[in-house]
Amino acid sequence: MKSISLYVDKESFIHDFDPITKLLYILFALFLPLILLSFTVSFISVGVSIVLLMAAGVIRKTIPVFSFVFLVLITVVIIQGLFRPENETILFQIGPLAMYKEGLLYALTITLRVMNIVSAFLILVLTTKPSDLVETLVRKGMSPRIGYVIVSVFQIIPEMMASMSTITDAQRARGMETEGKLSVRMKAFLPLLGPVILGALINTKERALALEVRGFNSHVPKTYLYEEKTHALSKWVQAILLLLLVGAGVWRIFG
């Protein structure tokens, strides 16, 4: 069964870090450029995230994500460069269209912020198993019910996709065309969707019963399946990130 998780199973020091440190890094990468409001800081922050992604050996997996993000950002650059109300200084002209410095600078700010957030999130998503992340959060006090809902999404969606394929085969076996013109596809909608939804509802009920019989709702403290993931440098890295954030705040207020 295909997984919907983007996690890349590799060995690297980034993979070895615990999810909490990676979550903290996301907050750091998110807030530092907002506090310091400097292009240089934003560039450095994006650069650090990309270096970390390279060190984790997952940079190739980021290409489709960054390609999609760039596609969206190009429209931001064009719209801001051409139409931002504060636009005054023409930077260059393409035929009748003038690109303005103010709009482009603003678009660059947005681009850097988005790149910053996306690359920091990719470090977490590509180097952390969803189950590890959820288990860590549950250890830190998140409700096990919410944890189960998050983990089960990663299981149920691929299951539903596999079940959709079997249902399509079952209906094609009964003479129903599922390919071709739009009208043919529309006609196939109900025979395909009906069993998927009913199947999902039946599975949900059975999952709930299976959880219940295995003591999911018991109130005694639970034993965790895996050892808590920690890295020798985790505490140091977390402390440095927090110090840098606080330092940036102080600099912004008093500097």
Binding site: S163, T166, I167, D169, A170, Q171, R172, A173, R174, G175, M176, E177, T178, E179, L190, P191, G194, P195, L198, G199, I202
Partner: protein, 267 residues
């Protein structure tokens, strides 16, 4: 009825699921057996046109499967899926059974007649207006058989028909298979229930690692212990018992066993 030549198939390049399959399937009822992952389900999906072969050809009643869609083939070859919940979506048993015949452009009157006949065959005539989801799993499986029988195809493939069936359910399926054979239909099955195979199927094909390991009369196939072991298939319980008791010939059913012992006692 079905001719398969040099058939090969893989879901992923470099890992063949089936390779070099050559088979001719005639009117004899046929069971396809083998351990999980041997390629049985892939094979029947290829026969039904749900998958397209990488290499080789399949002809079903002179239809070249590669050039025909699964929906077009539905008039000729029917496949009853293992899990009934994968197909049911209509509000009543009758509507569910009529869905297939109407899909293959049967007129409404004929579709209803066929549906009622098929429902009678599986003994669900008292539940015509019931929602299919309110039936027991055993009845749902019988309903799915009826849904294919009503389409009146020449070939009917049953995927694990005995799962979730008690003794009465198995007896019912036995009768259905016999009735279909009497109508000159080719009945095929993919199955792990060897006792059922021995009692009901004339021909048995053993798949192993994507190839045909054994093919022949069911008695002859179940006599080849070493080959069956290679395919991780156990002969029927009664066959094993007879062998342990030193009976030379291959026994397939309890009736045969009793008959053989009575004969021996008389001698």
């Amino acid at each position: 009825m079905i001719k398969v030549s040099d058939l090969s198939f893989s879901y992923r390049k470099g890992t063949p699921v089936l390779s070099g399959i050559n088979l001719e399937l005639d009117q004899r009822s046929t069971a396809i057996i083998g351990q999980n992952g041997a390629g049985k389900t892939t094979f029947v999906k290829l026969l039904k046109g749900l998958l397209k072969a990488d290499e080789g050809d399949i002809f079903v009643n002179n239809h070249h499967v590669k050039e025909t869609t699964a929906a077009e083939l539905a008039k000729t070859i029917g496949l009853v899926f293992q899990n009934p919940n994968d197909q049911m979506f209509k509000r009543t048993v009758l509507d569910e059974v009529m869905f297939g015949p109407l899909n293959i452009k049967m007129d409404k009157q004929q579709a209803k007649e066929n549906a009622l006949m098929a429902i009678r065959m599986v003994d669900l005539q008292g539940k015509l207006d019931i929602n299919p989801h309110d039936l027991s799993l055993s009845e749902k499986k019988l309903l799915c058989i009826a849904a294919i029988v009503a389409m009146d195809p020449d070939i009917i493939i049953l995927d694990e028909p005995t799962i979730a069936q008690d003794h009465a359910g198995k007896e019912k399926i036995k009768q259905i298979i016999k009735a279909l054979k009497d109508k000159n239909k080719l009945v095929m099955t993919i199955i792990h229930d060897m006792d059922f195979v021995a009692e009901n199927f004339e021909r048995t094909i053993v798949f192993n690692e994507g190839k045909v390991l054994l093919d022949g009369d069911t008695r002859q196939v179940f006599s080849q212990k070493d080959m069956l072991k290679k395919a991780h298939v156990e002969p029927p319980g009664i066959t094993q018992l007879a062998e342990m008791l030193g009976i030379q010939e291959t026994i397939l059913t309890v009736e045969e066993f009793i008959h053989r012992n009575k004969e021996a006692a008389r001698d």
